[in-house]
């Protein structure tokens, strides 16, 4: 770098070293971020690490600090009896755990698929121009605004075996011959849970789909109509690809929510083996059954499953979560 050879008269800066605007802003940014990051560390990172640590100990609820390191025993361990038989123990060979995993996956896949489908339908309806559209848009927000616990209770009442209105309707329509205990019956409990979840979260999907639909420029449909392309074909070949990015983001958020499902099942179908999810069984062990470390292992497994799922989804689906690329 060449400096000018002529001597430059330089007045001394007022306060020794000055900091440039960029440096000042960086410093401000640090102090602005610090409290938020500290808070998140306290409520997220640290508890997560502790939970994982607990899963490698024999900590109990009554003695949180007295746990000793037991390695992978909570996950999997074996003992050889004198007879030579090997006994496996731990969450990974616990049929109750695998039942919960299976329940959760079943619930997540079925409910999110249904919600996406219905959400799209509702969004397409709301995207059309018709009298009373504002009313319908307001109406579908109601299920979303109702607390999950309240919806669980409301539907619990409607699905009640003796006095429920659902049984009454179905009996009157002649669709069933006798009253069914929807929530209590092992065969129908999962269906009941999915029904309520679909009812409650379809609006969310519909709104996100609608936002995506409204970004599709209208002249595309215009052009397709002039070219005489069938509307169904237009939907699958034009609309769906265009709203796919928005849909992918909506689906992953719903999926994550479904995988950690707790409250609805806890209230609607308490203690039903047919609906027990990973979150339910983890909490049972953690808090109710005094198997704190064992429950920690299960919750850590749930975390791992979700982390793997998110990574796969982002990787395979090339989801633009941050919306950075579209900027």
């Amino acid at each position: 770098m060449t400096h000018p050879t002529t001597a430059v008269p330089v007045a001394a800066p007022k306060n020794g070293r000055e900091t440039s605007l960029e440096q000042q802003r960086l410093r401000a940014a640090f102090w602005f971020l610090a409290p938020m990051l500290l808070m998140l560390f306290c409520v997220a990172a640290w508890p997560l690490m502790r939970s994982i640590w607990f899963s490698f100990t024999d900590t109990s609820l009554t003695d949180l600090h007295g746990g000793k390191w037991v390695g992978f025993d909570n996950y999997l361990s074996y003992r050889q009896l004198s007879s030579g038989r090997v006994i496996w123990r731990g969450t990974l060979v616990d049929p109750a755990w695998w039942n919960a995993v299976w329940n959760t996956v079943k619930f997540a896949v079925v409910s999110v698929s249904l919600e996406t489908m219905f959400g799209l339908v509702v969004a397409l309806v709301l995207n059309a121009r018709f009298a009373g559209r504002g009313l319908v848009r307001a109406a579908i927000l109601i299920p979303w605004a109702i607390p999950t616990i309240v919806s669980a209770k409301m539907w619990g009442w409607m699905l009640n075996d003796q006095f429920g209105i659902i049984n009454d309707i179905l009996l009157n329509l002649g669709l069933i011959s006798e009253k069914i205990a929807w929530a209590a019956n092992l065969d129908t409990a999962m269906a009941a849970v999915i029904l309520v979840d679909v009812w409650k979260t379809t609006p969310f999907m519909a709104l996100l789909c609608l936002a995506g639909l409204q970004m599709v420029p209208g002249d595309i449909y215009e052009a397709a109509r002039i070219d005489g392309i069938h509307p169904v074909k237009v939907f699958f070949r034009v609309t769906l690809p265009l709203i796919r990015p928005a849909l992918m983001v909506a689906v992953i958020f719903r999926m994550l929510d479904a995988l950690r499902m707790f409250d609805l099942v806890y209230v609607l179908t308490p203690n039903s083996a047919a609906t027990k999810t990973m979150s339910i069984i983890s909490r049972e062990n953690l808090i109710e059954f005094d198997k704190f470390a064992y429950g920690s292992a299960q919750s850590s497994l749930l975390f791992a499953i979700i982390a793997i799922f998110v990574a796969l989804y982002i990787w395979l689906g090339k989801v633009d979560l941050g919306g950075e690329k579209s900027k």
Binding site: M1, T2, H3, P4, V8, P9, V10, A11, P13, R17, E18, T19, S20, L21, E22, Q23, Q24
Partner: protein, 334 residues
Amino acid sequence: MAHIQLHDVRKSYGAVDVIKGIDLEIQKGEFMVFVGPSGCGKSTLLRLISGLSSITSGDMLFDGERVNNRVPSDRGIAMVFQSYALYPHMNVYDNMAFGMKLAKAGKEETRARVEKAAEMLQIGHLLDRLPKQLSGGQRQRVAIGRAIVRDPRVFLFDEPLSNLDAALRVATRLEIAKLHHDMNNVTMVYVTHDQVEAMTLADRICVLRDGKVEQVGTPAELYERPNSTFVAGFIGSPTMNFLEGRFADSYRCNTLGVRPEHLDLSETDPVWTGEVVHAEDLGSDSFLFVDVGAKQPLVVRQGGHQVIPYGQRVGVRPREGHLYRFDAQGLPCN
């Protein structure tokens, strides 16, 4: 009021060099215009002077004092932005007084200064309005008023007229010229891509190209003595005609430049002859496009209405002493 010196100023964003070593002096009270095509670095240079970005290397001095790292508010500058950048939630008065309030100036003094500036710009009756209630021209005046209230050493303008329509642009241009006249010892630095703005407003123009200074000089100097084909082509409207090949060879140069206003039709003693391929009649002037066999048709400026039918052959002759000869590098031949 400020004398600005830039010594080998450079700016890079990561590996990209935007400003590639600029040496420039702006005199006290001077109206300096940065002009150049988009991407030449003129706005970046203005932001470096303002302090909104800091220079990567080199030195920047205001009145002999190094301000390399000084924050904008301590440099004694005021800036007028392209989008006006008024605070949408504050009325005109508060927009203009915001800087003074932050500097904890007295209420009386603030009011006096805001009212004086408002009077200067004839926006005194708008002080209670919100920006969204103003027209584009009024907003630009408020933006200028906000700058005046800061009582700056240096006034910076970042393409302030490009959001206005053509008529308003001329009116506001006039007003900025008047402002410079009234505040005659305030240094003004003005960025534009419009050479007409540059020619009409500037004491001196700095033509920038690709992060470097191409030429600095008064409008007349740039017009009469461009030191490259780039400047020659950038200054003047319509642009200079450039001739190459055999046309230039006979003048012993690589590129021959001649402005439309320095060409005359000549039946008796033509230098070049060709067909009229197009004509533009602007009323006061008309421009003939004559295909003499060069890459582009020659543009010839004629005073008043000139009705010459398409396809007619005409002779063209350049005026003496108004030919520009450039070598293969685009630099003037001696």
